[in-house]
């Protein structure tokens, strides 16, 4: 009898443990999906600048998810920035918080209208994405920005 009770207890404990793990996993998936659904960004403008040569892109947060722009847990370090140049070449740029050293191609991020100086990119606020490049040839470009949660924005422009 004791053996049966012990066996039943072990089974119950294991089953409940797995069940709660299942519950937490699905709740986490639900929460992450919610964050993705409620995230939205849009590229609102581009410009070129010289000394150093760079492409400047303005991106607006039109979702309800906030992203930390500064600090150790800053989000931009996980972002993917791809630029398709007029030649058809596609370049992926790496994030640098302080600007480019070597190699000379990278991107940095600045929060332009940080209401309340929170360091968070919240709804309605705009960031400036500065992409340091070697040259900005004349022609058509495409830019793609993907955030850490997979939400992305694309735009076509020309210089």
């Amino acid at each position: 009898m004791i053996a049966t009770i012990i066996a039943a207890s072990v089974f119950t404990g294991a089953a409940l443990s797995e069940l709660y793990m299942f519950e937490n996993t699905f709740k986490e998936i639900g929460t992450k999906n919610q964050q993705v659904y409620e995230s939205s960004i849009t590229i609102i403008g581009e410009a070129q600048a010289s000394t150093p040569t760079r492409i400047v892109v303005w991106v607006k947060n039109v979702g309800t998810t906030s992203f930390p722009i500064s600090g150790a847990n800053s989000d931009p370090q996980y972002w993917d920035v791809f630029v398709t140049f007029p030649s058809g070449n596609v370049t992926k740029f790496s994030y640098s918080a302080t600007g480019c050293g070597s190699p000379t191609e990278c991107f940095s991020v600045a929060l332009l209208n940080d209401i309340g100086s929170t360091g968070m990119w919240v709804t309605g606020e705009t960031i400036q994405l500065t992409i340091y490049v070697n040259t900005v040839p004349t022609g058509s470009y495409q830019i793609s920005l993907s955030l850490s949660n997979g939400v992305s924005a694309e735009d076509h422009f020309s210089f």
């Binding site: 089974f11 119950t12 519950e23 659904y37 939205s40 303005w58 332009l112 709804t123």
Partner: protein, 179 residues
């Protein structure tokens, strides 16, 4: 049937009940998050679709570093004064050396640095009219704005410029002007 079997049966039923609760709670949680997500995403899109503005009366000041423009809210969304800082003004023009300049301008009436915009203080009331919500930019009201560029970035007289305005919800409008 021994006592042990009864205990095991009770445990089994308990597991079944708890399992049922956990599965129901999980499904309920996922349904709620999915519902809320779709609701929020739809609401955001709806706000964007319902918000709209037009630009008119762009005038470049004599110093060629100040631009005046009227923005009319012809959407269905009120933009309260606290949201003015979320309006993006992007100005593209040819400077006095012939180079194309594109500047993002921030909302600030007190800062005297370059590339900023604010409500034109000489227009009363602003937004116009002020019959309701005098501080806010309601549908059909007009906002008279002043954009100030940096001194080295004068607009070349006679050149063509491009003014783009992006509302807090993400909808945008644009208008060309002559410097």
């Amino acid at each position: 049937m021994g006592f042990g079997t009864i205990i095991a049966g009770i445990y089994f039923v308990a597991v079944l009940i708890v399992s049922g609760y956990v599965v129901t709670d999980t499904v309920n949680h996922m349904s709620n998050t999915a519902y809320n997500s779709v609701l929020t995403a739809s609401s955001m899109q709806l706000e964007k679709v319902r918000s709209s503005a037009t630009i008119s009366g762009i005038i470049v000041g004599e110093t060629h570093i100040v631009i005046y423009a009227n923005l009319t809210n012809n959407g269905e969304v009120r933009i309260v004064s606290g949201e003015f800082a979320q309006i993006d003004i992007i100005l593209t023009y040819e400077d006095s050396t012939g180079s194309t300049q594109t500047h993002w301008c921030f909302y600030n009436s007190s800062d005297t640095s370059q590339d900023r915009w604010f409500l034109n203080a000489t227009i009363h009331p602003n937004p116009f009219p002020s019959i309701v919500n005098p501080q806010d930019w309601d549908p059909s009201k007009t906002l008279s704005i002043t954009i100030v560029l940096g001194q080295p970035s004068q607009i070349m007289p006679g050149s063509i410029g491009y003014l783009k305005v992006v509302l807090p919800e993400g909808s945008s409008t644009a208008q060309t002007f002559t410097g």
